[in-house]
Symmetry: C2
């Protein structure tokens, strides 16, 4: 009888494939393009996913038991697949937590310490101390994070070393370690008014589409800054440009935009006090190594008792 | 008989002066320009210093017992005054630790997360993901700090949250909390070769003048970066420009330069992969409040037992 297959949608390093084969001697570890139509029947585990696949894939792989995605979002998987109670699903949530949080603090610290002004002055060969008295420290600033998952927790951890206060918004307002206070989104107004920094980390849902609009920016303090490392569609970009131009908020950082790549003619490029990175905040050095690490950790437990060590997806919670 | 005087070289907020008067009811708290020539005789404590004063000031203030400087460096005080064993001297060392360390990490994180490239692309309205694969995280990078005082310790503390390794160089290689390893300066070569980031925090002495020269940059890794928040005279600027132009090191951040303000014609302004801030890394928001805090803490102990709680200067150690 054919060995069950661990199918890698994208290849891994040889040493990592060998390690998987050692861990699971009763399985065949194969790159997906090496799996014939006939072999699909033997696929039990997939690392990776093709966003064009729909529920019919389950008919072709009737023995599929576990899908380990290589990204954080699960919505690219067809809803009927996500609903299945015969399948284990897991994400790479958290794998980008270090890189995104470091990108976010690169912006926060550069903003408070006057680097954007200094870079402009440097281009003009100008030693300009005029803004010296405006420089701030991060200490005691209030950080309000939409989302309290792995990335947000990592940001809260970094914020603590800078002695900041960290508030979180999540679906039901449940307490989360490292957060000084958490509220549900319908209770967020008073925290928005208090925040020095607002960060969006949320996936796109009906609740988060167009969440950051003129009304939201009006609630924010005039010296507060806004950061989006979630999804572009959560921000009404015209309203953000207005808020920056009218100094309703002091600055912003967007790593994601509604249309990507952001077209050359977009007015965002020239908006005042806005920094844009090209959806790169989450770029992970040695990404395949990190993917292997999470997968190997889950595989070890899966082989032991059929469960997963981390990042298991739950349809009813949608994360 | 006249009350002894606490003389403030620069004024403090009224509420802070009132607080000092409450703490020390047997003293007069006066701003220095209110102190007449005749009253100098009664001055026992000075907060602040005039860099033009020499040892003759001691003759005018024969009852002076304690000088609390408002800056970190003590060398502006005449050596004969610093040598006196009848005087207590104390600095504001550490007061800039938060701001400087946040400026340093603004640069480190912005460098690793590709913000300097992104800012150039933004000026060209260009969504450029070409450098995506070059982005790095701070994690596991090796930080080598010249100096292990209050500022360096704060940087080590921040580095820990990013899971970095921290080495220190000090006069005798003594162990210091938060540092993974410390060596004396004559033992530093192997650490320089290993470092991803070199930071200078040192005051100017014979040992630190011109320390960072072609020979030093040659020891550094090609993908390492150099940061100077100490004194400009510690860096041979022509050698730094050469090292950057010849890609012997990957980048640098200077907050201090040999000549300040840095003249418009300096070649530093245009050196590749160099960021310059105008000696602003240590700018402290609410600076006078911070000065008051350190002084009040020392005054409390001085009144109790004649000693100081923190930052006491020791001539033989020169810090």
């Amino acid at each position: 009888m054919m060995k069950p297959i661990i199918a890698l949608y994208h290849d891994l390093k040889d040493e990592h494939k060998e390690k998987l084969q050692e861990m699971a001697p009763n399985y065949s570890v194969k790159v997906f393009h090496e799996v014939s139509e006939y072999d699909l029947d033997a696929v039990e585990i997939i690392l990776g996913w093709n966003n064009d696949w729909d529920a019919s894939i389950l008919e072709k792989m009737p023995h599929l038991k576990w899908i380990q995605k290589e990204t954080a979002g699960m919505n690219a998987i067809d809803e009927s697949v996500r609903q299945s109670d015969k399948l284990l699903l897991s994400s790479m949530s958290g794998i980008h937590a270090d890189s995104i949080s470091q990108s976010v603090f690169a912006f926060i610290l550069s903003y408070y310490r006057g680097f954007y002004q200094a870079l402009r002055d440097q281009r003009d060969s100008k030693w300009n101390q005029e803004y010296y008295a405006d420089l701030k420290q991060a200490n005691e600033r209030v950080l309000l994070i939409h989302g309290t998952g792995a990335l947000s927790k990592q940001m809260a951890k970094v914020a603590q070393v800078f002695e900041m206060t960290v508030y979180g918004v999540n679906t039901n307002g449940r307490d989360v370690e490292l957060f000084d206070k958490t509220v549900s989104s319908d209770q967020a107004d008073s925290l928005i008014e208090e925040a020095d920094i607002v960060i969006n980390t949320m996936p796109l849902t009906n609740d988060t589409r167009d969440l950051f609009d003129a009304k939201y920016f009006d609630l924010m303090k005039e010296d507060a800054i806004f950061i989006n490392v979630g999804r572009g569609e959560s921000v009404v970009e015209e309203d953000l440009i207005d808020a920056l131009e009218e100094s309703k908020i002091a600055g912003a950082y967007l790593d994601v935009t509604r249309v990507e790549p952001l077209p050359e003619e977009s007015e965002l490029w020239q908006a005042p006090n806005l920094v844009i990175t090209p959806h790169s905040s989450g770029a992970v050095e040695h990404f395949r190594d990190a993917v292997f690490g999470v997968f190997a950790e889950n595989l070890e437990q899966y082989l032991e008792d059929g469960t997963l060590a981390r990042n298991q997806y739950n349809y009813s919670k949608d994360y």
